[in-house]
Symmetry: D3
Subunit: 234 residues, 6 copies
């Protein structure tokens, strides 16, 4: 399968579905990890340009750890907007380029707008990508792709309906998140938290709910043309 | 009553509430069937201009079959956007022109963005249409109109609270949908489906739920100024 | 139509749907107001037998005011139980005796167990009443009757989907409730409230939500065999 | 796997999950189809004893068609009660006898109480079955078994989260239901319906929602000890 | 605490949380009452400029009555849009200027779009306000602020999880609302209502639900970084 | 305040609200920890009588650790039933004896029936306890007590609306749970889990959601007469 995972910022996928992505790669699937923004506003010490450059390297390293391909839409933090025709076009082309069999992205109601707008962009544009007359210079995708929403940050107001066992891949998941060195610092300073410890605690909690050591939770996007009769998650 | 029904594309109203509209006409009401877009991106064989011209004729024929008036906002497929001031103005004027006593439109969470954006446009702008100082050159409408949401395509994640018996009008409904000849082809090729058979199956299913042969399901929009103490559906 | 309204205690129907019942009578329907219990534990000053006798008279007077027939299951306060075979049999017979076209009863999640158990008894036994081999000596009812749930006391955790305009009947509703003289005292002493004022405030609030002076709110019971394609409320 | 499917009456499993059960058998699993009651009150022409005897034969034939084992709790229609210690003991022993890896049963909120009480009995007693000191003379089961709820009759107020493709088995499913000859008559006379046509329409509708010809819908029971990280449905 | 309350139009805060704001001031907190728009389209008799000027004075008087500071974003009625970068910047600066410890604003699903867009603007931009590299010339705020959503107009489709007792401040609340003299007229003419009576009825109803004379209802915004372990409402 | 906490089995309160109870005691409140059953069926090695005796001692020790009073209803595991008049009477008397200002108990939909039945018993009987004519030989309680539901085991299908910070009391909470020595063994053998580790992980997760190290989550019971205008949790 071609798997397209799209998070708002560099590190979101690592926190929310890093283990699942690592497992998908391990099972032989092609995984693209795309961060919508450059992560260029999450720093107290760097300029936007500097932090964007650093985070690009961190993202590539994280993707490399699990064997995924890295990509970005190149947007700016805080400016993701599903109403923006230019951004819509970018996402249509992302889908047309990656031709996914399954998409993983943010839940529509997460804790900040970039997450929520990414979710809407993916939902909207993975449909538009299939319209031949929505012309972008790239061939239209041949199916409306099933979407799995990963959970909200720290699982607030979210109840998974499907769990993926990531026990065997928890070290890979940690390593992927730790590749985002500047974020470990930023989140400590901006939000007073140790994101690796928090990720592990949240991943442990989802494991508790389904009877394994570590798990990640998802809900499928339930709309016409996206329903399936089999589980696409590992 | 003046009834304004607004679907995203030519054929959406026919699939989701064609029987109800036919019944409303039969009971003596004035019905306007408006499709927001020209349906200009749903084709593998025509250019946008060609398919738009064809679908305009198909829409007029479908409306004619049930005795409704046809209208369009003239937008492009995949570009409906409730955040667009120009589109908002168009919808304000649509409401001011048709002066509806009741509006039927898409459920806010349907399977693709044009549907969802139409729903939001109608909700937002049917209010603005009543503000005298929201000036568009047309007189403001004199009431915030009750809205009934028709169901999602194939009823995914939708539970009606009101059902309309369309048993007597199922042939009319089929004929209306069949008027969209190009769509029968497009949906077969794009989504692998026979939309008339599917519409009949879905309409039968709603009938099962309420004890008649064929029915269409709706939920009212529950907000201040739109509540009523009587049923406005037939 | 034959209308069967069943409340847990004498005065519940008066608080929650007195106006609707009065309107139904006025429109020519036969209405039975049944209170499940004798209301025999709501007193600080009387014995159970005394208060039951008094409340029976009050209930008859209230029903008389709106032109309904009064009935009771004769249960004891705090002992309504949908798991009790004897009570189930009583309700089967109530339905077989009254042969309703529509039933109005408590919402399944109200503020105390007698209300909730009445709701479950009615739901369960209005089905059993239709089974010829569920033998009670009375002929089985010929249809699974639609049910409308009236709202919870003071509308907590309840959102109506249908409103009945009771503006013209608000004085009748007040008079019906005032017929329960002992309850005005009991509720003042047990709960510190003026129930007539509270009923009026709640009825006014539902009016606000649907654009009339006074209204009562309901939700239909949504299950197979109970759905309808027309509104049975006035 | 050992699969235990429990419906309230003979024919409920056939209507709601017959295709899934047939597929499970075909894939090599051991399936027990248990009807809680004897179906002894659903007749206009037979006595309870007569109809029970007939339906027992019909049930065995239906199970035979798909290759499942038939079982019953031997309860009476309209008397299933999760509060009854004797019935609880029966279900504990059913679980201990069949030692299921997965259980399929009614959704907790279906259209009549036998369905709902069966759902609660299964939920409650499949846990108790694992307690060694809950002594019934049979050895305790060794795990709290995952439960999948099948849908409500005609899908009212139910949205599946998992679909099973039963396209290849739709004829088997029909044959299983048709084995309940007396029920085809009873439902025609009691409810005015052709249950085979209705079952096909409902199964087709679920197919529409997930992109196949025929499907059955389910939701997993989401509680501690019952969560899983893989799909147990076929 | 610094409290920032943001309503769509002049008078929304007065209707929905005037008592709570008055109580917060009385308890020593600094309260800013901001109306997003100038209220410049709610009039049958004035031009936009005239009505905006009048309503600015009315708003100042209302704020003065309870001891709050008045502010506005200066937007136009019907044009509030969370997708508009300019409006987002205005709200970022509002947060950076007022540095709130708690924010009160509209519920995300209220009866007209200005309310809903204000809710989204506040949610989105109170996060962006904390990003140092989201540069607006003002220093970033130092925390992601907890938000309480006030109820929808007339409480349609809203159930509070927290109530504030405003019994002692009901006269202040009425006076605040009455300061919006032109609105008393406009709402009478546009919607046929007496807004002071309606506000009192709604505030009484919420009181009924929690056992006091008058109350206002709220729900907290449940997302990461906004959760608290203590009640911030009075 | 008098606080009454009621769990199904010895150790449920320790897992779900031990920290909150310890904090309530520390803040000067009188806390009664009642376990409905004797815990007499959770053992692979003891007889029911033996394990009941052992767990009674464990429970007393756990209560002692936090300074609460221990109590029990003396029921048997797997037999808690809200439909049982005898059990109802026991709970009425528990409430009349302890005269609580606030009650903490199980969420109505937890993972096994004893939990759910306790929840219903408490809801139902804390009302009945206030009826003077519901005679049990003990004086009626003088108010319908607010209830907070603690979370489901491992938080499945539960979203708190209120959090209590138990960071300072996490060692006390652990010690309370560890007092249930036999349970540590039983849960390891019956469910394959280390309950102390799991409790800590779940308590950490709730802390993540509200910005502290460790927290416990609750939702208030939202019905008439139980609403409040202040937080009763610490």
């Amino acid at each position: 399968m071609n798997v397209l995972a799209v998070g708002a910022h560099p590190d979101d996928l690592e926190i929310l579905c890093g283990g699942t992505l690592a497992r998908l790669v391990k099972e032989g699937h092609d995984v693209v990890m795309c961060h919508a923004t450059l992560g260029d506003r999450g720093s107290f010490v760097h300029t936007s340009e500097e932090i964007a450059a650093i985070r690009s390297l961190e993202s590539k390293r994280a993707a490399e750890i699990c064997g995924a391909e890295e990509a970005t839409l190149g947007l700016h933090d805080g400016e993701v907007s599903a109403a923006d025709p230019e951004q819509r076009r970018l996402v249509v082309d992302l889908v047309r380029d990656t031709r996914p069999d399954v998409i993983i992205t943010h839940f529509p109601n997460d804790y900040m707008s970039d997450h929520n707008e990414v979710s809407k962009l993916i939902f909207d544009c993975s449909f538009h990508a299939t319209l031949p007359l929505f012309e972008t210079g790239k061939p239209h995708h041949d199916k409306v792709t099933p979407i799995y929403y990963m959970e909200t940050i720290m699982g607030v107001a979210f109840q998974p309906t499907e769990y993926v066992d990531v026990t065997d891949l928890i070290d890979t998941k940690s390593a992927m998140l730790e590749a985002h060195e500047t974020q470990l610092t930023w989140l400590r300073d901006h939000d007073g938290i140790d994101i690796v410890e928090q990720m592990l605690a949240a991943t442990r909690f989802r494991g508790l709910q389904c009877g394994v050591k570590y798990a990640e939770g998802f809900v499928p996007c339930a709309t016409w043309l996206r329903g399936t009769t089999k589980r696409l998650l590992p």
